[in-house]
């Protein structure tokens, strides 16, 4: 099973070899600037920087990047549209009004700023997500003293999600081949069977995996070798420099 676009991008990115800490500094720094900057040009700058880094040195293919951002950007877009409309007494700068619902210059500014910040923040987080497979993230969290049981549950859930996703796809295809989704009522019944089947199989798969792990000496800890990542002082310096410039731009008076 190929997996979601974000996962595929993360495993194939050349930035996978970079230290998670270095990347987190850059990406969370961009995120903080994006959501805190009062002016939209700074948020747009963050969006452009994150996108250029992703498509450039991070080596994310444009199609994968587009698929990764599609869902969150759509969600943010819908949210931004809803901010356009105010309900209540008509404001003085109303651009459009229908009864108690109005669109004003202020709501347009608010919606646009929300859009810019949302897109920029999402791009910053996705820059980290598309260059850092979950296994690397969990290893970093282990070094940062997050409790092992939490990380092991996350690791196993990640692995099982792919297995169950493949299994669900197969069951669904089998149902479709036997006209299981031919009509609404039949479709709901098949969907119910699919979900209950997946639940039972997930229990069974977990039990079988537990057996398999026991045979390999599992005694309560899922320890594996951590692959060392490349820490780069130049990357950190460049990230800090970039963030300082963005912060200065953010605090400058723009009018």
């Amino acid at each position: 099973m190929a997996g979601p676009a974000v996962d595929r991008a993360a495993w194939s990115s050349p930035w996978r070899q970079r230290s998670v800490g270095d990347k987190a500094l850059l990406c969370f720094g961009l995120l903080a600037v994006a959501i805190a900057a009062p002016q939209w040009p700074v948020a747009v700058a963050v969006l452009l920087i994150a996108s250029v880094l992703a498509l450039g040195p991070a080596g994310i293919r444009p199609q994968l990047w587009a698929r990764s951002v599609a869902a969150p950007y759509t969600f943010i877009g819908i949210g931004a549209v809803s901010v356009l409309f105010a309900v209540g007494a008509a404001p003085t700068d109303a651009l459009w009004q229908a009864g108690p619902v109005s669109v004003s210059a202020q709501t347009v500014r608010d919606g646009f700023l929300l859009l810019c910040r949302g897109f920029a923040g999402t791009a910053a987080v996705l820059l980290l997500a598309t260059t850092t497979p979950i296994v690397d993230l969990l290893q970093a969290l282990r070094r940062w003293r997050i409790p092992d049981p939490l990380l092991e549950v996350a690791s196993l859930t990640y692995r099982l999600l792919f297995l169950l996703s493949a299994m669900t796809g197969t069951i669904r295809a089998s149902q479709e081949a036997r006209l299981g989704y031919d009509g609404l009522r039949r479709g709901y019944r098949s969907l119910g069977t699919l979900l209950s089947s997946t639940l039972l199989r997930s229990w069974d798969q977990a039990r079988r995996m537990e057996d398999g792990l026991a045979g390999r000496g599992y005694e309560g800890a899922l320890r594996t070798l951590a692959r060392p990542k490349r820490h780069s002082a130049r990357f950190v310096a460049g990230s800090v420099g970039l963030l300082v410039v963005l912060v200065v731009l953010a605090v400058l008076p723009w009018r």
């Binding site: 099973m1 190929a2 997996g3 996962d7 595929r8 495993w11 497979p133 979950i134 296994v135 690791s155 196993l156 990640y158 692995r159 792919f162 297995l163 798969q205 079988r208 995996m209 057996d211 398999g212 792990l213 026991a214 045979g215 390999r216 000496g217 599992y218 005694e219 899922l222 320890r223 594996t224 070798l225 692959r227």
Partner: protein
């Protein structure tokens, strides 16, 4: 490796009754679906506690205590039929490192064992690949690598060739030969009687709760036994038997491979 007087049940159904056998060399376990091959493998590996009987490796009895199982697993490893029952980690090298780390080995040695296991299974190029992006055959190899990295004396394999294409089967058998050259004893459960005849020295046919054990070529020529076990005679033996009836080859020959069949035919009825 030896088992003595094993009684075993699966989900409260009796599966094996008073099974005793001594495993040496390349051994194949044959039997119908549900005959108890996998249960027997799991008993051998320590994963399944029998109702009675004992398992011995090098004369040492397996004890189902934490220390006993730990010691046993250093010597005996089981590769399950479905690789997804064993691959838990996101990437191949991390998964293979799991077993050696559980042995308490220092990290430097674990690195070496991982590299060695990946090289033996010819999947070094897959070390950093996520397990969910591997093909079925690649996942099989990764699962075997995870067991091999523990350097067991005995490697038990449950239907290792199922789901593989013919080239994949040939490559896997070549890999297993490489493991043998490193001193690992191999026990394989399979339905494939042709594979069993060509590969194994010894065979154990599981049927009716019992096990009949002996040289592979002899057992796989026993039509009554094979029929009771819902198996059939391997084609080289079947062909040889039919040709002997027609007087085209001498009776009693037991060719194991295509090449041996050709040799028999070339030699003719006089042999």
């Amino acid at each position: 490796m030896e088992v003595r007087g094993i009684d075993a049940a699966y989900l409260d159904h009796p599966v094996l009754a008073q099974v005793s056998l001594c495993l040496t060399g390349r051994t194949v376990l044959l039997g119908a679906n549900g005959s108890g091959k996998t249960t027997l493998l799991r008993v051998l590996s320590g994963a399944h506690r029998p109702l009675a009987g004992e398992v011995l490796v090098g004369g040492t009895r397996l004890k189902h205590t934490r220390d006993g199982l730990r010691a046993h697993r250093r010597q005996v490893q089981l590769v399950l039929q479905d690789p997804d029952d064993q691959l838990f980690s996101a990437d191949v090298a991390a998964d293979v490192s799991f077993g050696p780390l559980n042995l308490g080995l220092p990290e430097a040695e674990v690195h070496d064992r991982v590299a060695e296991a990946l090289a033996l299974l010819q999947i070094t190029h897959l070390a950093e690949r996520p397990t969910h992006q591997l093909s079925y055959g690649e996942r099989k190899r990764a699962a075997i690598a995870g067991a091999v990295a523990m350097r067991p004396q005995v490697l038990l394999l449950d239907e290792p060739t199922s789901g593989l294409d013919p080239q994949g089967v040939r490559e896997l058998l070549a890999t297993l030969a490489g493991l043998e050259a490193h001193g690992t004893m191999l026990v394989m459960a399979t339905h494939d009687v042709d594979l069993a005849l060509g590969w194994a020295d010894q065979a154990a046919v599981v049927s009716g709760g019992g096990v009949v054990h002996g040289p592979a070529a002899e057992l796989l020529n026993d039509v009554d036994l094979l029929t009771r076990a819902r198996l059939h005679r391997p084609w080289p033996l079947e062909l040889s038997a039919r040709l002997a009836v027609r007087g085209l080859v001498p009776p009693g020959l037991r060719p194991r491979t295509l090449e041996e069949v050709i040799s028999v035919l070339d030699a003719g009825p006089e042999h």
